[in-house]
Symmetry: C2
Subunit: 204 residues, 2 copies
Amino acid sequence: MAASNRTPFAILGFLTLGPMSGYDIKKLVEESTENFWSESFGQLYPALRKLTEDGLIAKQATASEGGRPRNIYSINDRGREALATWQREPTAPPPVRIELLLKLFFGEHCDRATNRKQILAYREQMVRDLERYRAIRERLHRDRSENAGLPYWLLTLRFGERDRAAHIEWCDETLAVLDELPDGGSEAGEEGNPQWQASTQTGT
Amino acid sequence: MAASNRTPFAILGFLTLGPMSGYDIKKLVEESTENFWSESFGQLYPALRKLTEDGLIAKQATASEGGRPRNIYSINDRGREALATWQREPTAPPPVRIELLLKLFFGEHCDRATNRKQILAYREQMVRDLERYRAIRERLHRDRSENAGLPYWLLTLRFGERDRAAHIEWCDETLAVLDELPDGGSEAGEEGNPQWQASTQTGT
DNA sequence: ATTTGCATGTAAAATGTTACATGATTGC
DNA sequence: GCAATCATGTAACATTTTACATGCAAAT
């Protein structure tokens, strides 16, 4: 998985929004970047410790109100610098692993109904995503209109909207194409053909 | 990474194209599904051994021509059944981890030039992908027009084309938006604002 | 009372990439 | 002769998820 652990940078980014605990970060991730970037506690807590050791963030144990112990982390100047440096660096292309396409690539061995069902399920997910994005957009405009980060958040949201819309169009085109194709059926047999070698490359 | 190791199914899929070695599979992956599904030797060889042990494929050691030893694997009926079963099963949504969007999400803390540079680099990659896909498409039509799998391969290629085209449009829109925004600059300071909690969710 | 949420963390397992070891053969 | 490619495999490392352990506080 390449030499790249971006969790520290995600943490630094969220800490620019204000001091907070690991738990807070996790919650924030879930309600903001989850659609294109997620983090689990198993990554978060070790990374917080490392960032503290490296002096990019400061930890402040709090047991004040209610007596509930919390570790509150704040970003410092070195942390802000590390964040900015990362933002200027070349960005790794996102790794893609689209199981749907792998299934469809071998779709010749399935009956039409199976292929259709897979595409339809994917399409429904895309539609649900779009509905969710619309709700998020409305909520952002309602509750966050003053925030300086809002334009950037909206740009990432727009990415999701365009992406999903394009995939829905692909689903519709694909369904139409599938209807024109002979219905295979998954009967074994036919004997693997021998002209497989070289040049079959395909998209994404 | 969730209970899902799809490598065996990828292998089974490729073996439907004919008997071949692990090395052959790796080559085929590179020139066909690499854009949406890749495999490394570190996954391939252990998975081939496991599939053989489980009786879904058969291994045949060859030392024939030239004396070069090769292990040729063939899918059998149980393997074909396992493949078809997987193709009918619900498909996990692809995991997304888009570093570009994470950077842009915190773009408020960068100067405009940095944000622009990141988007432009991404756009260039999308354009290169599209050019590559066009070459693949031409090659497929030229060399593979007889193959029964071709329509399905073209569908996965179309996915990549639509995806990249949509992302390019997003890049253009984003660049226009960035030009309207005040140029931040990465100076520390400003003090993290305190109204971060709840409702910031965004797209993809 | 009991569930839900707050809160921190660790351990183990799954998954995946990269680098290495090894050696044959083919084309220049 | 030498580089490239064929060919198989392992080991180490990196990354990430899931499950668990632990316990307090607030709301129903």
